[in-house]
């Protein structure tokens, strides 16, 4: 093994290559790549599918071989597996790095990837995925600045969305309370209103509410998924994912399209959520929530990390409070306008006009449904409450609620209902004042 390895190309180069110790690809490598940028990008995409080859190992191999194309070419020549194995072993020893499946398994994996390179690339085209490498200009600068950025991003949608001028991550628990969900909705709406893109993880709960609100508010939103694009998870959010892409946002993953979701992939992608954003906001997190991992990444990456506090005896906020107590660098969300101010986005404040938009959505649903729509916005949630406040027969309330549901303006879980769709962003104060103003005008 050692003998063959020693006879490989440029064994001496390993020691001399003094790349940054954080494992990022060497600053000078693009200069040595072939002119054919697209071939090189393809090679990176193929290598990204190799199991066990992470940013560190890839960076080291890249410096060893000069280019991704060279790695693949060598892998498909006779003896390539052994050369790759010994190369990665030597690299590993030199860099105190250990490929987790052993060097030889990695060599075999790369050789196999080289063999099915054509199919892999065809699969990417079939799925409509765009490959953005860390060598590309489109690679988001925010992400390039973190430790161990992924060398390849698979993007569904518009890659430009990753590089919006301002980006804020809104994350939180999957078991969101109605209050937490409402906070996420208003925060995403208002941040989108000041021109920030909303980054989150497409999970159910807070993540989903933030994405949906951003889409509704006409903003840009980026979802970092914890699996390959062909294994979108959770499947309940397939429609939301479509809406994100359709509205100019993007679905991003560092994982090859057919990677299944697993326990490890979600914490790993969390570093991309914080990395793609200027700041991270945790809306709601009970103890041990995965959202706190994202918050830790934000702190590690030196980005501002905000948490929405809660009552001290509310289990839904226990994680946020514990995190605030433990890490002095964290910031508190004292209100959404204050948050916008703290983020330095107050100058971009524009009159959102969403309340009037919401009123417009109620214009053509009929008077009964419109009345109930306003009551839902104000916060009446159960049929009993709606019956009590309107004094209508139950049958009429249910029929009118169905009209709202059919328009996508109301949704309900377990007998509690809330505004959705265009009505989701409506301002309760405006809804409450509206009839009063009318009365004042009549008087």
């Amino acid at each position: 093994m050692l003998g063959i390895g020693a006879s490989g190309p440029l064994p001496a180069a390993i020691g001399r290559e003094g790349g940054p110790s954080d494992g990022r690809a060497g600053e000078d490598w693009p200069a040595r790549t072939t002119d054919d940028r697209s071939a090189e990008r393809d090679a990176w995409a193929v290598l990204a599918a190799v199991d066990g080859l992470g940013p560190v190992g890839f960076g080291l191999l890249l410096r060893r071989y000069g280019s991704g194309v060279a790695i693949l070419e060598d892998a498909s020549r006779p003896g390539g597996v052994d050369r790759l194995a010994s190369a990665s072993e030597a690299v590993a020893v030199g860099e105190h790095w250990r490929p987790h499946d052993g060097a030889r398994a990695l060599g075999v994996g790369i050789a196999a990837a080289a063999e099915r390179a054509g199919r892999t690339l065809q699969r990417l085209r079939d799925l409509g995925l765009i490959v953005v490498t860390s060598a590309d200009d489109e690679y988001p600068a925010r992400l390039a600045a973190i430790e161990m950025p992924p060398y390849v991003l698979f993007v569904l949608g518009d890659p430009v969305a990753l590089g919006e001028r301002h980006a804020v991550a809104i994350v939180g628990t999957r078991r969101a309370t109605e209050r937490g969900r409402a906070t996420a909705v208003r925060m995403a709406r208002d941040l989108a209103g000041v021109g920030a893109s909303i980054v989150s993880g497409l999970a159910v709960g807070i993540d989903g509410a933030a994405h949906a609100a951003a889409v509704r508010a006409g903003g840009i939103t980026v979802a970092v998924i914890g699996s390959g694009h062909a294994n979108l998870h959770p499947r309940a959010h397939a429609r939301l994912a479509d809406a994100i892409v359709a509205s100019g946002g993007a679905l991003v993953s560092e994982l090859a399209p057919d990677t299944p979701p697993s326990r490890g992939t979600f914490p790993r992608r969390n570093r991309l959520i914080s990395g793609l954003a200027d700041a991270t906001v945790v809306v709601e997190a009970p103890a041990r929530s995965g959202a706190l991992i994202t918050a830790s990444w934000a702190l590690d990456q030196g980005r501002p990390c905000f948490l929405v506090p809660g009552a001290i005896d509310d289990p839904a906020s226990a994680g946020c409070l514990a995190f605030l107590r433990e890490f002095p660098d964290t910031r508190i969300v004292a209100g959404i306008p204050q948050l916008i101010d703290d983020l330095g986005l107050a100058d971009h404040l524009v009159e959102p006009g969403v309340a009037s938009a919401a009123a417009a959505t109620l214009a053509d649903v009929g008077p009964a449904a419109a009345r109930l729509g306003r009551e839902l916005v104000i916060g009446r949630a159960t049929v009993d409450e709606l019956v009590a406040v309107t004094g209508w027969p139950v049958a009429s309330v249910l029929a009118a609620l169905t009209v709202l549901e059919a328009r996508g303006l109301a949704v309900g879980v377990h007998g509690r209902y809330r505004p959705a769709g265009g009505l989701m962003l409506a301002d309760p104060r405006a809804m409450r004042q509206r009839p009063k103003r009318r009365r004042a005008g009549a008087a």
Binding site: V204, G205, A236, D384, V394, L401, T402, V403, G408, H414
Partner: protein, 525 residues
């Protein structure tokens, strides 16, 4: 000497005439029963022996052979005891028969008392069909036996009284002349105002709808379900009042008509359900626990006895904690829900039981039970509640027309708020809607309408038809989902006394759709 006595046994819900032939012959003393007798019947030897002795007769020390004809019919139960004892007395010439043709049905105790047996009503009816005009039964079963038209019922307390009857022919003092049952008359007795028993802890008491506070949506859904005979599923956390609401049902349903009442009474008789003193006009309400076995639900067992679904015939089958029932038990509801009957075959025997029940069920929103409650968080993994509610699948899903979420009622609504309507206010509306539905061809409750008969009953205008299609999208409904909306809308219109189904009816009907897609929509929205 040979004696032949007539009696009857129960076969499913039907009585069968049995000829009891007793031969008391010289030979080694012994007592044999032949003719496919089951264990309870074999044990008749011991009961008869004891009863004869204790009544002061002699159990003859001779070779006694009892043959039960027809020989190929499996016979069960203790209804032949009395006939066997009388047969031995006649065969050993301790008693001389009087004139007249009669049959005896009853069980004996060792103390020679005559006891009632399950199924007196169908057995007596079978005897009458076979030409018998006089029947001897236990005194406590006289009321039940007299429900059969055209028979003279003689009630006896003891074996001695039975012997007197046999000896004296029709002139015994124990002869009771039955009043002919005129079914119409009993109907006129009407259903007295539903019994309101405030203490609902008593398992048999029927609570009043006025005790259910808040829950407007569920109350309305219950009214619609009962008016149309629709399947209803209540989904709510513990303490939201699902069970209380369901238990008000007996007080909300109109009394059964003659035909249904007779069928229900026969079933109650065959199942040995308490003393039967008259036609049972109260629709049955069955509430089996979720640990119920397949046989107990469907019927069958060694005696081909009716199961819960048959005992709920013409009434309501309430399944609390629906997902906790065994998979095979729920699966067994498929045929009865579709056909209104259940076919049971056991080795050598087969029968068909009626099972035209209305299904009402209740379940928690998630395995831990607390999804959607504000005071206690749900401890289930994310998205599990939606999956849990999807577990109600296949045949049940298609037969449940109304799905209702019951949130826990705020304490304020329990003490304050307007006084809710009572059963007495709601029941007449339900009865009126059922009357309208059954007057309309094909004369069925709306819950059992499908296809062409359903569309004919709804008489949709093109505009309303379009609305139905739109609303069916809410549950990505197949044809069945569309029919669900139409069935319920028809009933809602009937409750409002309207001839045509209008948009508002359809919209309300669409509200009661299965909640799983609604849950998913809530996650996304």
């Amino acid at each position: 000497m040979l004696a032949i006595v007539s009696s009857a046994t129960l076969h499913g819900l039907d009585g069968r005439l049995i000829r009891v032939e007793v031969d008391v012959a010289p030979g080694l003393p012994g007592f044999t029963i032949v003719g496919l007798a089951d264990t309870a019947l074999q044990e008749a030897r011991e009961r008869v022996r004891g009863a004869l002795r204790n009544a002061g007769y002699v159990h003859p020390p001779r070779r006694i052979t009892v043959n039960l004809a027809p020989a190929d019919l499996r016979k069960t139960g203790a209804s032949l005891d009395l006939a066997i004892a009388i047969g031995i007395l006649l065969g050993s010439e301790q008693v001389r028969p009087g004139p007249g043709r009669f049959a005896l049905v009853g069980e004996l105790s060792l103390g020679a008392e005559v006891r009632p047996v399950p199924g007196i009503l169908p057995m007596v009816a079978a005897l009458v069909r076979r030409g018998f005009r006089r029947v001897v039964v236990a005194a406590s079963a006289v009321d039940e036996a007299r429900l059969v038209d055209g028979v003279e019922v003689i009630g006896v307390e003891t074996l001695a009284e039975a012997v007197d009857t046999v000896r004296a022919g029709r002139r015994g003092r124990l002869v009771v002349r039955p009043p002919r049952v005129v079914f119409g008359e009993a109907a006129a007795v009407a259903w007295d105002a539903p019994a309101v028993v405030p203490d609902i802890r008593d398992g048999r008491a029927t609570p009043d709808l006025g005790e259910v506070r808040g829950q407007n949506e569920a109350r309305r859904a219950l009214e619609v379900a009962l008016a149309g005979g629709h399947g209803l599923l209540l989904i709510g956390p513990p303490g939201s009042g699902k069970t209380l609401l369901a238990r008000t049902i007996p007080g909300l349903l109109p009394p059964l008509d003659d035909e249904a009442a007779l069928a229900t009474t026969v079933i109650a008789s065959a199942a040995g359900e308490g003393p039967i003193t008259g036609l049972r006009r109260r629709p049955p309400f069955r509430n089996p626990h979720h640990t119920v076995s397949y046989a107990a639900m469907v019927g069958g067992g060694p005696h081909l006895s009716p199961g819960e679904i048959t005992m709920a015939d013409n009434g309501v089958l309430f399944l609390d904690e629906l997902p906790e029932f065994g998979r095979d038990v729920l699966e067994s509801l498929r045929q009865p829900l579709e056909e209104g009957r259940v076919a049971i075959a056991r080795a050598g025997r087969a029968t068909v039981f009626p099972a035209r029940f209305q299904l009402v069920a209740a379940m928690n929103p998630c395995p831990c039970g607390f999804a959607g409650t504000s005071d206690r968080p749900c401890s289930c993994p994310v998205l599990v509640p939606a999956r849990y509610q999807r577990r109600v699948s296949g045949p049940l899903r298609d037969r449940i027309d109304l799905w209702v979420a019951m949130p826990r009622v705020a304490a304020l609504a329990i003490v304050g708020g307007p006084e809710p309507e009572t059963s007495a206010a709601v029941a007449p509306r339900i009865a009126a809607a059922r009357e309208i539905a059954t007057q309309r061809p094909p004369g069925r409750l709306n819950g059992r309408l499908t296809g062409r008969s359903l569309r004919a009953a709804c008489r949709l205008s093109p505009g309303v038809q379009r609305r139905v299609v739109q609303l069916a999208e809410l549950e990505r409904a197949s044809g069945r989902g569309t029919e669900r909306i139409l069935r319920v809308a028809r009933t809602i219109a009937d409750l409002g006394g309207e001839v045509d189904v209008r948009e508002a009816h359809v919209e309300e009907a669409a509200w009661y759709r299965p909640p799983d897609l609604r849950l998913l929509a809530a996650e996304v929205g």
